[in-house]
């Protein structure tokens, strides 16, 4: 009798607990999870969005692998890694080494200022930089002319060989403060005694960076690496606002190509196949990071 009441109560407990999760799960299931699964399904179909879809098997994927614009877009995403990931992390590491363990006055002011672009809408960042790069009254060409380097002025975003680095510079500008904030949080957790020991052993500042600071912020480095990698693979807002993929397809990226296929060319199945490929790359990177982090705990 007692156990019956007890198990009845336990059953009630579980029911009530499920009710706490149910609202969030319902929204998530209908508006996120089902669409994720449907993307996979659509990617095997030929579908304009209006007429009924026809099954195409792996046709979309086969076409993608031979589509010069998609391959170019994907290569551009990989090239963006240099600007989204490599430069910001190296720059942030140098600054971390300079700032770490020094009670420089105004350290937090600098950190706050460097972090500022990261919280701005990418659309605003793009609008601001479009003006900087404006060939006629832009800040960059204006400055070049003012210091007598007028010969170097360029239509930066319209130049076939310069558009990609020009967008890349914006990415560095927007990303490095985020990496710096992560690293500085990590440095605060490093035991001061490690630096003292290194100094006793005669380690230079550079040695301390390599042997104490970098191993001490391994987790933060990994998070910075993964989130900037993902940002490079997902680049969209910035490209859309500054160049729309141009000139030609010099700054075309996969998400923009997905958007064009889905909502301008009405190729839903094809766009879904792009989404699947991109998602698999991103999930692989996230999964590798989670595995690495949990294996060390």
């Amino acid at each position: 009798m007692n156990t019956l009441i007890l198990s009845g109560r336990k059953w009630m407990d579980k029911l009530i607990a499920s009710l706490y999760v149910l609202p969030a799960f319902t929204v998530y299931f209908i508006f996120i999870l089902l669409p994720i699964l449907n993307t996979l399904r659509y990617s095997f179909f030929n579908w304009t969005g209006f007429s009924p879809p026809t099954f195409r098997g792996l046709g979309n994927y086969q076409e993608l692998l031979q589509d010069p614009i998609f391959l170019k877009a994907f290569m551009n995403n990989l090239r963006f890694i240099v600007y989204y990931t490599a430069f910001p992390i190296v720059l942030a590491l140098v600054l971390t080494a300079l700032l770490a363990r020094k009670n420089l006055k105004g350290r937090n002011v600098f950190r706050a200022a460097f972090f500022l672009p990261y919280i701005m809408p990418m659309v605003v960042v793009g609008v601001v930089w479009r003006w900087i790069y404006n060939p006629v009254f832009g800040l960059l060409n204006g400055t070049l002319r003012a210091i007598g380097l007028g010969a170097l002025t360029r239509p930066w975003l319209g130049d076939f060989s310069l558009a990609q680095p020009a967008v890349g510079v914006i990415a560095i500008w927007a990303q490095f403060g985020f990496c710096l904030a992560l690293f500085m949080a990590g440095v605060q957790k490093i035991d001061e005694a490690l630096y003292d020991a290194a100094k006793v052993d005669g380690a230079s500042e550079f040695d301390q960076l390599i042997y104490v600071t970098i191993p001490g912020i391994r987790d933060e480095l990994l998070v910075a690496l993964v989130s900037t990698l993902i940002a490079a693979l997902r680049a969209f807002d910035l490209v859309f606002v500054t160049t729309r993929g141009g000139p030609g397809n010099e700054t075309m990226v996969t998400t923009l190509y997905l958007f064009q296929n889905a909502f301008q060319l009405n190729r839903m199945g094809y766009a879904s196949a792009i989404a699947v490929i991109q998602t698999l790359f991103i999930l692989a990177i996230s999964y590798a990071m989670l595995r690495f982090l949990s294996s060390r705990q």
Binding site: F25, F115, L116, I119, V127, W131, A185, R234, A262
Partner: protein, 280 residues
């Protein structure tokens, strides 16, 4: 003593110089846009940092009324408000259950939510668009609110569960014996003691929703439903030649974020660095 100190000062001087140059590179573009927003097109040609003759609000007035930034601001505010309210409420409820209760499939469900944290928005935008269009929600404000809530709870649950798990079960058991039920334990004990964590979550929801461009670009076709980033992006295309007007629009989009950032800077940095794997 002085001989010993001098080289250190020199080194700090170099560090300060480098930091100052970098800071100038970050702040100068924003500052020049802010200045430009008060200029006439003729004044603009005189140089990026030249001061306007008189600080007139004409560009702001034009952007606000003719440029429809009044409508965009209203839409953005409405979307952000509902995402924060609904997203936080659902995250707190579910986070509490995952942290303090046992129920069937709890571990599996948690992993399913984690998946939503890692999958980027663009990977499900096509089916989402067709689903919302089928139920008549495309090109309505709900097409911006509901999916954003769905994305936000993935992070919110993960975040709140981590924080709520720190509450000792003993304390909650004691409260339960005293006659509090779970609902009142959550709202009377747990939530009032979790304000910093909730603030960080709210700040993140704000940034993600306020800055969102992709979802609005796909879902919204009427001018009267555009949010600020979408409005600005299309505005700058239409008024490309009138930079002061675009600068005023850009300033209007930036100011609320900047205002909150100044007051909640710590939450911003803490939140963004710990929420950095969110998919939106």
């Amino acid at each position: 003593m002085t001989r010993h100190r001098k080289p250190i000062d020199m080194k700090n001087l170099f560090t300060y110089l480098l930091l100052a140059v970098l800071m100038l590179m970050i702040v100068a573009p924003f500052f020049s846009v802010f200045l430009a927003s008060f200029k006439t097109p003729a004044e603009l040609v005189r140089g990026a940092f030249s001061l306007p003759e008189n600080f007139s609000w004409d560009n702001y007035r034009a952007a606000w009324e003719q440029g429809h930034f009044r409508v965009y601001t209203l839409n953005s505010t409405l979307v952000v408000f509902w995402v924060i309210v609904l997203g936080s409420f659902l995250s707190i409820l579910a986070g509490y259950a995952f942290a303090q209760m046992r129920f069937p499939l709890d571990k599996a469900l948690f992993i399913v939510f984690l998946l939503g944290l890692m999958v980027p928005q663009e990977s499900y935008i096509v089916p989402l668009y067709y689903f919302l269009s089928k139920i008549g929600l495309v090109n309505t404000i709900y097409a911006l609110i509901i999916p954003q809530v769905g994305m936000s709870v993935c992070f919110g649950i993960f975040w709140m569960r981590g924080f709520f798990a720190q509450f000792p079960r003993d304390l909650l058991d004691a409260a339960e014996i005293d006659g509090c039920n779970r609902w009142s334990i959550l709202w009377r004990i747990i939530v009032p003691n979790s304000i910093p964590a909730i603030t960080t979550m709210v700040v993140l929801f704000f940034v993600w929703t306020w800055n969102d461009f992709f979802l609005a670009l796909v879902m919204i076709s009427s001018d009267s439903l555009r949010t600020l980033p979408l409005g600005l992006a299309l505005f700058q295309g239409r008024w490309a030649a009138n930079i002061p007007l675009v600068a005023a629009g850009a300033t209007l989009v930036t100011l609320p974020s900047l205002f909150i950032y100044v007051f909640l800077q710590r939450q911003f940095i803490l939140g963004a660095t710990s929420g950095s794997l969110h998919g939106s």
